[in-house]
Symmetry: C2
Subunit: 333 residues, 2 copies
Amino acid sequence: MTSSKDVAKMAGVSQATVSRVMNNPESVKPETRKKVQDAMAKLRYQPNLIARSLVTKSSRTIALISGTLKNDFFVETTDTIVNIAASRGYSTMVYFEGGAKLQDILNSIIGYKVDGVLLSSIKLDDPFFKEIEASGIPYMLFNRRPHSGGNYVVLDNQLAGEMLARHLLELGHRRIAYISGEINISTFYERKIGFEKAMGLAKIAIDKDLVHFKENTSATEIEKLTSKLMNLPNPPTAIICATDEMALNCMNTIMAMGFGIPNDVSVAGIDDITISSHQAIQLTSVGQHKFKMGEIAVEQLIEMIEQGDIYQKPKQIVFSPELFIRQTTGPKT
Amino acid sequence: MTSSKDVAKMAGVSQATVSRVMNNPESVKPETRKKVQDAMAKLRYQPNLIARSLVTKSSRTIALISGTLKNDFFVETTDTIVNIAASRGYSTMVYFEGGAKLQDILNSIIGYKVDGVLLSSIKLDDPFFKEIEASGIPYMLFNRRPHSGGNYVVLDNQLAGEMLARHLLELGHRRIAYISGEINISTFYERKIGFEKAMGLAKIAIDKDLVHFKENTSATEIEKLTSKLMNLPNPPTAIICATDEMALNCMNTIMAMGFGIPNDVSVAGIDDITISSHQAIQLTSVGQHKFKMGEIAVEQLIEMIEQGDIYQKPKQIVFSPELFIRQTTGPKT
DNA sequence: AACACGAATGAATACGTATTCATGTGGTGG
DNA sequence: CCACCACATGAATACGTATTCATTCGTGTT
């Protein structure tokens, strides 16, 4: 591989001058600058970014630690994050929940001196988050937030849960099932609180048999759970899923069992992912479209990186949710 | 940040010995090894992977240059690729089509000395591909293949197109529309050839007005095109979309216009993405499930990286497609 | 004319690791 | 007892860049 030293030799200058042509072109006389640029072109010179990073201690790279792409919510955020980062000149190292041990990821991002970290896949009590904070690397959480402090952008999840429950209560439902991921994940915790609040205000007791917090929210697990619910002697007349992704799998199971939606049972989710508004799906959901969460997250992060204002006041952004009533929810029959 | 030199000082050994403890532990006496490891732990030492890469000229990193996540096909491949790479100890730098200029991406991956490249987003005549080949970096194409030679894993796209067309012909359709991306993308080219072959064998002339190759296959573009087709004085009785993603958008438009599927018009796609088999969608599609394309691609790539067998015979893998008949296609009425 | 000063550039160094080469040490076989 | 060797380790160097420091040269000022 050709190095800046080779370029220097061909141009008849020192390696330092070659470096200057790249980083501070005005500081070198136009005449010699031209010689250097010609030599670069002739040798098809590509700077070694690793060597550059070694001395600058930064890498023009961010790390994205995301929830699984099996949830369409994270598909949309990943897409916008990677693209916006690229348009700003940053490469993105991507890791998905479950793919590698968090400790290995941490070693990678610290060892590679990434300029910033975007993360969603994180539990409230995970030491990983504290290590990130301690490392001093700029970071931004999205769709997750810590107990207190930190930088994050989230939906007002409690309100989202509450709105959805209220919608179903207003339709006359009383036996409302609730399917969620585990509640040491902030998103699920807050949505649950909202659900409980609405039920409490309506003075409806919550049937323990209808409320489930699963560690594993894969399609097959949701399928199992849904069929269990529908086979209950006294099945629910409505099911709230803590994410649209679960709601899709829930719908799928219900339809496969031969039930009608919403005639036999109403289904609703949270996140309002793209497919939810498809004519063939028409899932009632709570979300927001004024801002893209991934976009806000990555822009805030880049701002932190480039302004170096890590010690400014924390960035905490909360979106107001909106209810989209579609065809999967209807009055209790 | 603490370096191996700091560890060496605390352990009372040379930096070289610290390095040996990391890379060749057996070569250092157990006694001194312990001293070094203790010092590492006490200092919470993390090796600087950038410095390591500079000397080893490899980075334990692969680059994934993928089609957009707006197409669910690439969601599935991205998910499996990133996760498998992670489990093998590789980080993945991800780029999506349209996010950054290919030249910038190329500079990044060459400058960062990635160990290998996985790419799908590439046109037949793109010089980018030739540059990758020339760079000597191990690479693997997926869902795309060059005119000749190269390493790739693809569906038998021609056969896929042919099977789908034959299916609709057997249902009695004659006015079959075809919606595709541009045909300097191998996938679209081959699928189109298959479609034409089936039509030719059935001795059905292809109506130019029904066949479209769009450079931009975004949801809105597909929507526009679909409504144009359905508003034709003599609209098609069936529409083949070159990808399921387009078929979903096509369905959405048709349903929004008030037409019934498949009563008014049949719709089918290729790729058999996950959502296609959802009870509420039931899209007829051609694809295969025996292998995961992303999995095969990344495993082949890692094999190339670790065996260093770039100069072995090219890896060319073609999957046989299977037809999944669901509810969006029916007999011509 | 002497001097100061700024611009342009080269030489040298640092970044943190892996690796080669040299050195010393203890053991083994003759 | 000596020669030889395997082994353990340290010193030195390379990787390719950015950057600091020193040097040279031309220009304007007094």
